[in-house]
């Protein structure tokens, strides 16, 4: 499992590559959370186009990042889902919570054009 990062304004774009299972998920969530801090980004794009295999551990990673974003007032968008990845996320109702785009570029634009939320009430 390998993750590549790119930041654009407040958006951190993560390109996921390889297999996501219970074994790789803990390193993956740690790397993403750490990079959000290091890049100083509030919003997150998770691009799955390089993911060859995923099981329900991937659902946990997406829902976990979503919960963090809700707390911090950030937004999350996922892109590049294969039919298999989409089917798994759909099963857990992820798409009723998290926005989806076809490509990472579209996801990035989607987050940049939407009004910014603040963490305060």
């Amino acid at each position: 499992m390998e993750v590549m990062f790119r930041s654009s304004g407040n958006v951190l774009i993560t390109l996921l590559r390889g297999d996501i299972d219970h074994h790789t998920a803990s390193a993956l969530r740690h790397t993403i959370d750490q990079s959000m801090k290091e890049f100083g980004c509030s919003d997150l794009v998770m691009d799955f186009s390089g993911v060859g295999f995923m099981d329900s551990a991937g659902i946990g990673v997406v829902l976990g990042r979503y919960k963090k974003m809700v707390k911090s007032g950030g937004r999350i968008c996922i892109s590049g889902c294969s039919p298999h990845v989409a089917r798994l996320l759909e099963m857990a109702g992820v798409f009723s919570l998290v926005q989806q785009a076809d490509t990472q570029r579209q996801a990035e634009l989607m987050l940049q054009s939407a009004p910014q939320m603040t963490g305060e009430v």
């Binding site: 299972d21 219970h22 074994h23 099981d55 329900s56 551990a57 946990g60 829902l63 298999h84 857990a92």
Partner: protein, 148 residues
């Protein structure tokens, strides 16, 4: 053609990839579609993850905590996979199988493992006894139209 295999490995997270790859390689003679193969790999990954995470949770020596993967294929395209452990067992199987149910909230578990196994395979049977272990039996019927 009836064919069986059995492999036993330590309950370590890195063996999840080994188990699903072994199962996938074993069913190849049946010429599964890419989708069928992905479904089998995912179901095996879920079952083995359950043994690693829950079955042997808190186990002292993981290298001695063993998970068993058994596969059987027959000429009619039937694939039977049994994943078993000698770990803690499940107190309430019915409850454990409900979507989104998880005993470890804090670690970002989706609680979707059994739901995934159920929807990706044709039959799922879970036998468990507290203190003795768990055996998950999954059956899938492959479409043999393209295999000669």
């Amino acid at each position: 053609m009836n064919n069986r295999m059995k492999t036993v490995f330590s309950a370590l997270a890195e063996n999840e990839a080994f188990a699903r790859s072994a199962a996938a390689a074993f069913v190849m003679p049946l010429d599964p579609t890419v989708e069928e193969l992905t479904e089998i790999k995912t179901a095996v990954s879920e079952a083995v993850s359950n043994s690693v995470i829950h079955g042997y949770s808190g186990w002292e020596d993981r290298s001695q905590a063993m998970v068993e993967l058994e596969c059987e294929i027959n000429g009619n395209g039937r694939v039977t996979i049994i994943v078993s452990d000698h770990g803690r067992g499940i107190a309430n199987v019915e409850k454990a199988m409900q979507p989104l149910f998880s005993t470890v909230e804090s670690e970002e578990r989706s609680g979707m493992g059994f739901t995934v196994m159920e929807s990706f395979m044709d039959k799922l049977q879970v036998k468990s006894e507290e203190g003795k272990g768990t055996a998950v039996t999954m059956t899938k019927y492959l479409d043999l139209v393209s295999a000669l």
